[in-house]
Subunit: 147 residues, 4 copies
């Protein structure tokens, strides 16, 4: 059984930021939260703009608070705008319903936490996170049907 | 005349969570509020994601604050988005206008309070609550015309 | 290893409210949170005033967020008022540093969550919770040296 | 000229958490901010209680926002409570005026940012940070006269 401790969380967040640098993606922030939504590692590339850590945290926290990956949250926000407006106000914007929020699971499918990434397009944010998740040996759930 | 005391409220909330487990519905939170909108019993299945109690409370509170079941609130939110945007800001998101918020009445139609449920689709949330309401001998008003 | 599920949390909260009734203490609210600070069971005696659930939740949440029982939080708040003013603002009042917040542990000392109680004096709030904790077979940590 | 990039910030925060583990100090959170007060690396030991990252961030942010180490802020908060009450409200608690907030400088005395630490007593928080600052080759300013 994998433990998502602060060392692994920090490695995952750093790997995400380095993926962005290696691929010419805009500088990122990445937030890795435990399964209860509390931060383990929040990193911001020193070139990334300063709201990125909060947005990254909101992407991850929304996934955990609602129980879905960011792409599923995005679909629901589009289908039920009044519901997501209310959630937005209830939580002070803690739920950021877009791609780039990814649930983290171990090999046996157990929920370990989530990562949220912000800085470039949501697609690029997500891609960097998925590459980093693979690097550290975890499984990510983006909210799209698994291939 | 039925009294919605904390014992009955707790039984109703627990019965709702158990209905979800018995039917393979995703884990739920349920909030039972008195007619003044104040909580009597808020329960969260330990497997349910952590924003569910707030959402459940918002569903119930919206029904009581506006005087309609959740389905009528949902219809109005769709017809009058600017009105519900204002309500949303006024109340800090306390009105969650979707199915799964149900007014509670006794046999003589007296308003006792409301229950809000969150965790699965709104339809499933509502179904579990209605079964639990029947179990404890109350009547629920979903905001749809009574059959 | 004990699991603090919603059934046990609801039994603990209800036992606390019944202790108050049996002892002529003022009507209470009790909040049982998991170890990460998320609610499992919040009950309010229908005779208790309406801010009690929020206060009870803040007592429990403060214990978990800071890692001490309520009596230790109270001592620290008295010794370091500027620090607790800042925490108060940072958390929107989520840390209520008085007696009546109790960490919950199992037989082996593992942290399961916390209970917060509000409605009468802090001493009476705490006493009712401790009796209920014993009833359900858990161990409570009030923030005072263990006898 | 030293650059406080995210890699160095993450190393400093991780070194602080490891110092606590090596010394039997309670589990910590550490926040490293750039000179503008924006986060570069926030880490929480997975055993630390969940308010610690916010408190750590407030310690570091207060130092940068006011231009003093945490010990000087603590002295001023004690001497001028009404002033710090106002700051507290103005900033939503972002200034946590206690030891454990440390300005970070390079060899030439240039301000690079700050670290804030929370989890044990303020003295222990600060000690772990100072050891980690030395490890990574920076200079720390605690708000006490330099020896």
């Amino acid at each position: 059984m994998t433990l998502l401790d602060f060392e692994l969380a920090a490695r995952l967040a750093a790997a995400t930021l380095r993926q962005a640098r290696a691929r010419g993606v805009r500088p990122l922030a990445a937030a890795v939260l435990d399964a209860a939504g509390h931060p383990l590692a929040v990193l911001r590339d020193e070139q990334a703009s300063f709201l990125r850590p909060q947005i990254a945290t909101g992407k991850a926290r929304g996934c955990l608070g609602m129980g879905f990956g960011g792409r599923e949250l995005a679909r629901r926000a589009q289908a039920m705008p009044a519901f997501f407006d209310a959630i937005n106000s209830l939580t002070g914007g803690e739920v950021v319903p877009v791609a780039g929020g990814i649930l983290l699971r171990d090999d046996e499918g157990r929920l370990l936490g989530a990562i949220g990434v912000s800085g470039d397009t949501s697609d690029n944010d997500e891609r960097c996170a998925l590459l980093a998740i693979e690097e550290v040996g975890l499984r990510g759930e983006t909210g799209d049907p698994q291939p």
